[in-house]
Assembly symmetry: C2
Homo-oligomer: 331 residues x 2
Amino acid sequence: MKRISLAHGDGGELTHTLIQELFLSAFQTTASPMLDAAIVSMPANEIAVTTDSFVVQPLFFPGGDIGKLAVAGTVNDLAVSGAVPLYMTCGFIIEEGFPYADLQRIVNSIAAEAAKNGISIVAGDTKVVERGSCDGVFINTTGIGVVRHKSKAAYLQEGDAVIVSGSIGDHGIAILAARNELGFTTEVESDCASLSAMIEDVQHGTGGVRIMRDPTRGGLATSLVEICEDFGITIILEEEDLPVHPAVAGACDLLGFDPMYVANEGKVILIVSAAEAEQTLSLLRQHPEGAEAAIIGRITDTQSGELRVRTVFGATRKLRRLHGMQLPRIC
Amino acid sequence: MKRISLAHGDGGELTHTLIQELFLSAFQTTASPMLDAAIVSMPANEIAVTTDSFVVQPLFFPGGDIGKLAVAGTVNDLAVSGAVPLYMTCGFIIEEGFPYADLQRIVNSIAAEAAKNGISIVAGDTKVVERGSCDGVFINTTGIGVVRHKSKAAYLQEGDAVIVSGSIGDHGIAILAARNELGFTTEVESDCASLSAMIEDVQHGTGGVRIMRDPTRGGLATSLVEICEDFGITIILEEEDLPVHPAVAGACDLLGFDPMYVANEGKVILIVSAAEAEQTLSLLRQHPEGAEAAIIGRITDTQSGELRVRTVFGATRKLRRLHGMQLPRIC
């Protein structure tokens, strides 16, 4: 079996061949690949920039792989910031001995997901470390986009609806299952998906979106706590309205997890004016990724900066950031 | 001793605290740190983008550390592309158990080198992997700059001078020495340095620069082979004119290395019109990083695309890319 060697990362002949054979043919990069930096045009004077490292284990899992995850994660961070993704960089740290065919599969997955989103991969980097010095492959991506929609956070007000675009916790549970850490089998698949097309449709179809977030690590609750603290708003979630797949609910019950704290990789949280909430839902539901979109709560005041949840018994309790539940290597 | 735990990377409370305490206070980021993407202004319609992962071992070495290296590497890739660095992203992959004080030292080093170059760190990411799943810390940086000087590669012609801004091979030998892989001690320090100020001075002081490159992994020879192939030019280097520190030459002799293939992290190759070569040298020599700048060769034709070196005995031989000399984890 063809494997990656240290010489593939030494900057010499084999690095050159790897870039030519594998990366350039998959990414169809137009910029001169061997230059120190890519020169690209930027049709805007405000850009959005995001970066993420991906260390998910296993590399291939039901619903996706590290390559698709890396692109989708980058796309979603830009989309929820009101930006249209244009360019991406891609840095690989590869363990000596990693199967070439697996790298090829990951690179193809990146290329396919980038193409689907109209993103050019403009710069890359490949490092190879000795066997045992990393875990297969780590990928870093940086995304650059053009800002198309300004934040309307200043309009956040009492009564605004909190919407999530679909079921929560699927990604985290799928990864645990793929690692055989559940102690039982499950049909849960990762929700890993690029949401920029759906988000663009929503932005065009309604003027009511105040802010959006991408609830990945830390789950829905942690993202909403950040929002509440950043803008000083209080949100009350309705526990019974949270979309949770039965298999995810079951796994969480058994493991003692709360699905609100389990990672997602293809969901968006939207805070929307009360008047436009139904319109937003119907726009989301026209996309497969938004088919299970739901209104899950409301802003109840704009002063105290708390996230609360009303349980099925009618009482409310305060939610904090994820704390002490270790689910490493999920993205 | 305070150490990094898996929970520092779970996206919850401890991640929040780490970002607030360590990264934000060092980087003085003005963009809202918890947003999915940073929104920044871009005063140009052409931008330069570069990305690199840094996996150097050891993390701290004579002349620098992984943090300084990460910034300088990014700055230099942009500067040789004719761009002024403006923004940088910074992604950390950290091994569980990594000493907090070492992370602090690295972050401070990044912050200091970024500030020296007027670069804002606009986006970041922190992942923590289990003990044994990476080697201390890996850093990915992406740099974004404004293009100030267009490539003059179209003007490359016979007689153009090839200049290197100083001694070659220092970084590679310093890293091997720091790993105790030489079998003897040496005083060699890494040349790790940000060169954008020096390069800007050269660009302003002479119109004769055709192209520049940053000869890191693969060394001077590999970078020049890339140039010769990309532009179809032939360069003949004069072996006796190559600036090599005696300690580096001695180490290379003993190890069977050629300093032309050993990595640099603070050097620039410039190809300059014959008429402006001396002026370029004197501009370089006004900077400490360029004190040992030298003319090391000439373009001899613009068709065959070869790199050749004239030895001290007068014969010339063809040079290829680095091949088969494994010096992993040098950057």
